[in-house]
């Protein structure tokens, strides 16, 4: 298993280079997990991607590097301390990097000879593939599939020139990866929504949710999705609500700042019982915070966002496969219970790419509309018919003679505004009754580690991969560690938590926020206290190494 970093300034083409290299590594028989670390600027500064690859599936990033490709000296300065003793720094020979690990090659000269300085990244890809003892077998197809036609030949030449500049240093036995996809978290959410039949997506561009809008825009014509870039997030969610009312499977996506603008409408979906899925791709707040970085600090916000009381479901996405299957499930549950479902992702998951087993569109959870109740002249359709489970038969306007009347005001069964105390009680109870059914469908947190563990780590969402890998490493010494990683998080499923809480000596919450929001939720919902916390809030995702260090520090540093 290897870990390399590609770094340069914004505008240097690191993102494009990383995309090509990742595809070549995958075609060469590698599993991958790549994180993207970008500054909120278009040019300059320092950006990097970190590609971890090997011949077994990977679910998180690690800190220690085997290699660095440095476009500039900043990359070296920022990252040389992460580089292992026998690692390499691939860079142009002109860079002032004084390090015995430096592998200085005439990258720029080669690019200049090819008469396009931008192909320096392809020269470097060629060199990197050689260093790890891969061939250029898949290069032509990948370049053809990803570059403008007139750029293919020159980049192919650059690859070959770079390949010939150096010698192999590492050897990796390739595995079969043609049964795997290479996707980012946001792409997987998009694919899940498409599989679940999304017809309408509205959003306002906001990092790190914007690539969702880009995905749906790209698929709009071929997948029959109306995609609307709204004037603001308030419009975005109200559009999605309107489309859903009219019968379209609808979704909106944003980050915390945009979600803040959406909260009144979130309550509207609650009282009007209009199915809606809203994705919050979290970034560090408050306010503008760190626009392009990661955090898990919206949990307590989204579980209580909007005035008043109404049922909602919050699902924290744990990994790329979750992004697909849980997005589809969220659409089904939003329709079944006629509630808002909030998907919590974050920049780390949204922008990272991973190899995962092929997602199966036939495997997703679907909601099959029940047979419509016939309408008679003397009993017109009641959009908010009082039922035992709180679910009223849902119809859409124009598809029958039923008149579908919905309100943000409190209303009677037919959707007429009311101020009746009796109806108010009946409607509040009807809406909240839906939670009883919903709670039966909750998925318990995933358990990972030793079943007889004495130390239990708890986490949610995108820290899943790092927590699991840390537990595996900890258990190599003593089989004492377990972890519960929440996906469904509100309402909080508590059965498995109660079971392990009764067994273990200590519970440690591992969270990407400053206040331990999951720990607070466990106290509130399950009366369970965490003894220790491992928290990180610097905008850079908790790594396996951070968790191991955190555990070590808890043990008094020995």
């Amino acid at each position: 298993m290897y870990n390399i970093l590609l770094g340069g300034a914004a505008g240097d083409g690191i993102e494009t280079m990383s995309g090509l290299l990742e595809k070549m590594l995958k075609q060469s028989g590698c599993h991958l997990f790549t994180i993207r670390d970008f500054m909120s600027r278009v040019r300059g500064g320092h950006n990097f991607t970190q590609i971890r690859f090997g011949n077994q599936p990977l679910h998180a990033h690690r800190d220690t590097l085997d290699g660095i490709f440095a476009i500039d000296e900043t990359t070296y300065r920022e990252h040389h301390s992460q580089l292992s003793a026998d690692g390499f720094i691939l860079c142009d020979q002109a860079l002032a990097i004084d390090d015995p690990r430096a592998l200085k090659l005439p990258l720029k000269d080669v690019a200049k000879e090819l008469e396009n300085p931008k192909v320096i990244s392809s020269v470097a890809i060629g060199a990197l593939l050689k260093i790890f003892n891969f061939s250029l077998e898949h290069a032509t197809d990948i370049l053809k599939g990803n570059l403008r036609e007139d750029l293919v030949d020159i980049n192919l030449s650059a690859l070959h020139r770079g390949f010939d500049l150096t010698e192999p240093r590492f050897d990796l036995k390739p595995v079969q990866t043609s049964d795997h996809l290479l996707v980012s978290g946001n792409t997987a959410i998009g694919l899940g929504a498409v599989a679940a039949g999304i017809r309408f997506y509205s959003a306002y561009p906001m990092s790190p949710s914007t690539t969702l809008l880009d995905f749906f825009s790209a698929q709009s014509s071929s997948m029959a999705i109306a995609v609307e870039q709204a004037e603001d997030e308030i419009a975005a969610i109200n559009m999605a609500i309107g489309a859903s009312y009219a019968g379209a499977t609808a979704m909106t996506g944003t980050s915390g700042g945009g979600f803040s603008l959406m909260v009144e409408a979130l309550g509207f979906t609650g009282i009007a019982e209009i199915p809606l899925v809203a994705v919050d791709v979290q970034r560090p707040g408050p306010a503008t915070g760190f626009p392009t970085r990661t955090e898990q600090s919206d949990l307590k916000f989204v579980i209580s966002a909007s005035q008043g009381e109404f049922p909602r479901l919050v699902i924290a996405l744990r990994d790329h496969a979750d992004c697909f299957y849980q997005t589809a499930r969220s659409i089904a549950l939003a329709k079944k219970y006629q509630i808002p479902v909030i998907l919590l992702s974050d920049q780390y998951l949204a922008d990272s790419t991973a190899t995962i087993p092929i997602l199966d569109a036939s495997e997703i959870i679907r909601f099959n509309e029940p047979e419509a109740v016939a309408q008679t002249a003397d009993q017109p359709y009641r959009r908010y018919a009082l039922t035992e489970n709180g679910i009223s038969p849902l119809r859409v306007p124009g598809k029958s003679e039923a008149l579908v009347r919905v309100d943000s005001d409190e209303h009677d069964e037919w959707g007429q505004i009311t101020e009746s105390a009796l109806l108010r009680n009946q409607m509040v109870e009807k809406r909240m009754n839906k939670l009883e059914g919903l709670k039966k469908e909750l998925i318990e947190p995933e358990f990972w580690g030793a079943h007889q563990c004495q130390s239990l780590l708890v986490g949610f969402g995108s820290t899943s991969g790092a927590i699991k890998e840390a537990v595996d490493i900890l258990n190599q010494e003593e089989k004492n560690y377990g972890a519960l990683i929440f996906g469904d998080i509100y309402p909080l499923p508590t059965e498995r938590l109660q079971h392990f809480a009764a067994q273990v000596m200590e519970i440690i919450n591992v969270e990407q926020n400053a206040t331990g929001q999951l720990a607070a939720l466990l106290r509130e919902e399950a009366l369970i206290c965490c003894e220790h916390s491992i928290l990180k809030y610097d905008g850079r995702q908790l790594s396996v190494d951070d968790i191991l260090t955190g555990i070590k520090n808890l043990k008094g540093g020995f």
């Binding site: 498409v194 029959a224 975005a236 309107g242 379209a248 092929i358 124009g398 919905v406 943000s408």
Partner: protein
Amino acid sequence: MNKTAFTTYETAWCPGCGNFAIIETLTGVLNQMDTPPHQVVLVGGIGQAAKTNQYITANGFSGLHGRSLPAAVAIKIANDDLTVIVNTGDGDSYGEGGNHFLHNIRRNVDITHFVHDNQIYGLTKGQPSPTSDPCDLAHKTNTCNMGATFNPLLIAIAAGATFVARSFSGDKTHLAQIMAAAIKHPGYALVDILQPCVSFNKTNTFAYYKQRVKPLDDTYDSTNKLAALEKAMEFGDTIPIGILYQEQAPTYADKRPELFDTVPLIDKSVHLSEVQALINSYI
């Protein structure tokens, strides 16, 4: 309940409110059309005018204050077979919903927007709205604007609206004509309907409007944008009513023929094999 005709329910409006004439006229216009009630969606935000959909037998969407337009355009996008009509007030449309007003003009989705403009906030009992008359400190009341008055027609024409009209609740014949033309217009149609608020607006009364409104004469060319902009600036001793501006331009749906054909979006589906092929393109 008569299933084939639009009828009205009992309302919560003040006796003498201009909304009565508007709802009566609208119901009459709807009954003149071939579209049955279940094919019509009446959308509102919040406010006295926004309650209109509560009182007519049709599909009804009573959304949030200021947010009727985004919901309305999305309803139309989702199901192009529906006739979508927004009824809401000047505060809802131009104040709280100002950003949506501007940008939905650009979208030109085929919906109709009736703004019941009484130049006052009624439901909150008498605060100035964006369209309230201007005043200075010496003449300040609770119901006038110390800032400039918002001119919705001028802004709509400038922003590229394809149907911009004004009418008056006190002239039902005129109102019916304009309403019918607005509903028929392919694209976003704005009708600003002057309407007295008998409870809170003591300036812009029925008599005030009655004296001032003047229908555009036959020589007026509603396709001349510059003339329309000039006409839209007239608001004082004379208030022009009628279609100030109209043009035939591609609608939102016209520009996306691959999504908007004879099958409404909600009835479209994508075969599972196509979805799987998209997924597999990431291998």
